[in-house]
C-alpha cells in the first residue's frame, strides 16, 4: 500500500502500518490549540467529557489573539475564562497579551511547539498552517478541541490527496501569497474539499519558510483538510533555530495515489489579487489597477511575519501612504514586532503614514483595529474576503501579498508593486 505524506503521519499516530483514503482512524495528538473565540466554548464543553484534567498540560496551547487586546467587555470575559482555565489546568503554553504573545499560527512555530511529523488539531481553521513544517495539522471546532484536550486522541477520516507540483523560481515581487491565491483561483474554494494538498517539486527549494507558512495557511481556503510540504534543509534549519523537538520527516511513497496533480510554474506567476467575495476570484494585480481603496491591512496569520514586514517596508521606504488611505501594519507576534523595530521597519511604516498595531487578528475577521464602513474597500494581506468579513456587509476586501498591499497603500488604488517601485525611483 503506497501512502501520501499525510497518510503516513496519520498511520504513525494511529499505531498502524498503513492506512487508506476513506478509512476512519483514532489517532494520538501531539498538540491541541484554541484561541479566545473558540477555547471558551471548548472549556464549557470540557467537563462533559468526564475528565478533570487535560490529557497533557504541555500539549495544549491557549492563545488570546482574536479580540485582544480585549476589544470590549464580552471579549474580556472570554479571555478571562480562558486565562482562568489555563491557570487551573497549569497549561504550559498559555501566552498572555504582551508577554511574548501573538497571532497563534505565527506564534506556535516561532515557539518551536510544532515539529515535522507532528499531528496537531486546533480550534481555528487556519491551523493547517503548520503543514509548512511537514506536520499534519487541521482545523476543528470547539467540541473537537474539548475532546482532544480530554483524551489526547481523536478520530480522523483519512483524506485522499491532490498533488501540487511547484516548478521554477518566483520573481522579485512574487511570493507565497501569489502562489496560493493563484492555486485557489485554479481549483476553486471547494476544489480540495476533504482532501490534502500535498506540495512537491523543485520550486519548493525557492520558497522561504515564511512563504510556505502562507501557502499552507490558506489550504483551507480551497476547502482542504490540510496542506503539507516535504521536509528539506530550509525546514530543518527553521526547526533547529526555533528549538523545536526532534523532527520526524515523512515522505510520500513513490507512486502514492493522488486524485489529481496540479502544476504551477512559480517563475510565471505575477502579483495576484482576490476580488470580493471569494478567495478564488483572482486576477493579476495589473488587471485590477484603478480600483480606489480606503484602507490597507498588512498582517495576520497569513502574512504578518518578518519577511512580510520587510517587503512592505521596502516598498514604503521613503514614500507616503496616499491621502485618504488608512494603512494598518500588524506584526503577528511580539518577537516579530521587536525584530521589525530593531531593523528600523516600524519607523519606515510610521514615517510613511501607517499606524502600527500590537499583534492581534483584529481586523482580519472584523473584530477591531480597522473595521470598514459601508462602501469602503480594503486591500488586505489576510485570508478571507467574504461578505462583511472586515466590517459592514457592503464593504469589500481584496486579498493580496504584502508587496501589493504596500504598493496599493502608496498608490491609493490597487497597484502592482513593480509599477510603484518604477514610478517613484
Amino acid at each position: 500500500m503506497k501512502m501520501t505524506m499525510t497518510q503516513k503521519i496519520l498511520a504513525a499516530h494511529a499505531g498502524k502500518a498503513e492506512v487508506h483514503a476513506g478509512e476512519l482512524v483514532m489517532a494520538r495528538l501531539d498538540l491541541v490549540l484554541g484561541n479566545d473565540i473558540t477555547a471558551p466554548v471548548a472549556i464549557r464543553e470540557f467537563p462533559k467529557f468526564g475528565r478533570e484534567r487535560v490529557f497533557d498540560r504541555s500539549r495544549v496551547a491557549l492563545v488570546p489573539d482574536h479580540f485582544t487586546p480585549n476589544k470590549d467587555i464580552k471579549a474580556a470575559a472570554q479571555c478571562a475564562a480562558m486565562r482562568a482555565f489555563a491557570k487551573s489546568q497549569e497549561i504550559d503554553n498559555y501566552f498572555e497579551v504582551g508577554h511574548d504573545c501573538g497571532v497563534e499560527h505565527a506564534l506556535l512555530p516561532e515557539k518551536g511547539l510544532v515539529t515535522a511529523g507532528d499531528l496537531v488539531i486546533g480550534a481555528d481553521s487556519h491551523t493547517c498552517t503548520y503543514g509548512a513544517l511537514g506536520a499534519f495539522s487541521t482545523g476543528v471546532g470547539s467540541t473537537d478541541m474539548a475532546a482532544g484536550m480530554a483524551a489526547g486522541e481523536t478520530w480522523f477520516r483519512v483524506p485522499s490527496a491532490i498533488k501540487v507540483l511547484l516548478r521554477g523560481k518566483p520573481s522579485k515581487w512574487v511570493c507565497g501569497k501569489d502562489a496560493i491565491l493563484h492555486l485557489i483561483g485554479m481549483i476553486g474554494v471547494d476544489g480540495a474539499r476533504y482532501r490534502s494538498l500535498e506540495f512537491a517539486g523543485d520550486g519548493i527549494a525557492h520558497l522561504s519558510m515564511d512563504d510556505r507558512f502562507t501557502i499552507a495557511n490558506m489550504a483551507i481556503e480551497a476547502g482542504a483538510k490540510n496542506g503539507i510540504f516535504p521536509v528539506d534543509e530550509t525546514t530543518l534549519d527553521y526547526l533547529r533555530s526555533h528549538g523545536a523537538k526532534e523532527p520526524r520527516a515523512y515522505e510520500a511513497d513513490p507512486g502514492a495515489d493522488y486524485e489529481r496533480t496540479v502544476e504551477m510554474d512559480l517563475g510565471e506567476l505575477e502579483p495576484e489579487v482576490a476580488f470580493p467575495h471569494l478567495p478564488s476570484n483572482t486576477r493579476r494585480a495589473r488587471e485590477a489597477e484603478g480600483v480606489a481603496i480606503d484602507q490597507v491591512v498588512i498582517g495576520s496569520c497569513t502574512n504578518g511575519r518578518l519577511s512580510d514586514m520587510r517587503i512592505a517596508a521596502e516598498v514604503m521606504r521613503g514614500r507616503k501612504v496616499a491621502e485618504g488611505v488608512r494603512a494598518i501594519v500588524i506584526p503577528a507576534t511580539q518577537r516579530i514586532w521587536l525584530q521589525a523595530m530593531d531593523e528600523g521597519l516600524l519607523r519606515v511604516f510610521a514615517e510613511a503614514g501607517c499606524v502600527v498595531s500590537p499583534p492581534t487578528c483584529g481586523p482580519c475577521l472584523g473584530g477591531h483595529m480597522g473595521i470598514l464602513a459601508k462602501g469602503e474597500r480594503c486591500v488586505a494581506t489576510t485570508n478571507r474576503n467574504f461578505v462583511g468579513r472586515m466590517g459592514h456587509v457592503e464593504s469589500e476586501v481584496y486579498l493580496a501579498s504584502p508587496a501589493v498591499a504596500a504598493a496599493s497603500a502608496i498608490a491609493g488604488r490597487i497597484a502592482d508593486p513593480r509599477d510603484v517601485m518604477g514610478e517613484w525611483r
Partner: protein, 163 residues
C-alpha cells in the same frame, strides 16, 4: 427524528462569516447567536425561522472559519435540518458534534425553493418537498452517528457511553 417546516434557501459557498458574523463572537450564548444568524445575507432569517424549519443550500455550505458558533446559531434558530449539495468539512464535523442534523443531497438542494413546506426524516434520509410532492433520498447516517445526533452531540454521547 422527523420534522416539518418551511424552507429557507441559499446559494453556494455560504461561509461561516455570514452564518454568524465575527462581530457577534464575543459571546457563545446560543440564543444571542441565533438573533444574528444569517444576518449579512438574509436579515429577515432570525425573525422568521421557526422550530422545524429546513435550511437548504448549494455547494460547500459552512466554508471558512472553524467557529462552532455557526452550527450553534443555526440550531438555536430552530432549524431542524440543513440540506445542502455539499458541506465544508469543519462545518460538517461541528454540526454533528453539537447535534445539528445535516443531510447531503444535491437533488433536493437544487430542487427545493424558498417558502416551500418540507419534511425531513433524519433516520431514513428522506426529504419531502410538500409543496411540489417531490421526494428525495439522502444517504442516511450510520447508527452510531444517529445516536450521537439524538444525544445532542459528541459530549453527551460519549458521556452516555462511559456510564
Amino acid at each position: 427524528m422527523k420534522s416539518k417546516g418551511t424552507v429557507f434557501k441559499y446559494g453556494d459557498n455560504v461561509d461561516t462569516d455570514v452564518i454568524i458574523p465575527a462581530r457577534y463572537l464575543n459571546t457563545s450564548d446560543p440564543g444571542e447567536l441565533a438573533a444574528h444568524c444569517m444576518e449579512d445575507i438574509d436579515p429577515g432569517f432570525a425573525g422568521a425561522a421557526r422550530p422545524g424549519d429546513i435550511l437548504v443550500a448549494g455547494r460547500n455550505f459552512g466554508c471558512g472559519s472553524s467557529r462552532e458558533h455557526a452550527p450553534l446559531a443555526i440550531k438555536a434558530s430552530g432549524v431542524a435540518c440543513v440540506v445542502a449539495e455539499s458541506f465544508a468539512r469543519i462545518f460538517y464535523r461541528n454540526a454533528l458534534n453539537i447535534g445539528l442534523p445535516i443531510l447531503e443531497c444535491p437533488e433536493a438542494a437544487r430542487a427545493m425553493s424558498a417558502g416551500h413546506k418540507a419534511a425531513v426524516d433524519i433516520r431514513t434520509g428522506e426529504i419531502s418537498d410538500l409543496t411540489t410532492g417531490s421526494v428525495f433520498h439522502a444517504e442516511p447516517f450510520p447508527p452510531f452517528m444517529m445516536d450521537l445526533i439524538a444525544a445532542g452531540g459528541l459530549a453527551p454521547y460519549l458521556k452516555g457511553r462511559c456510564r
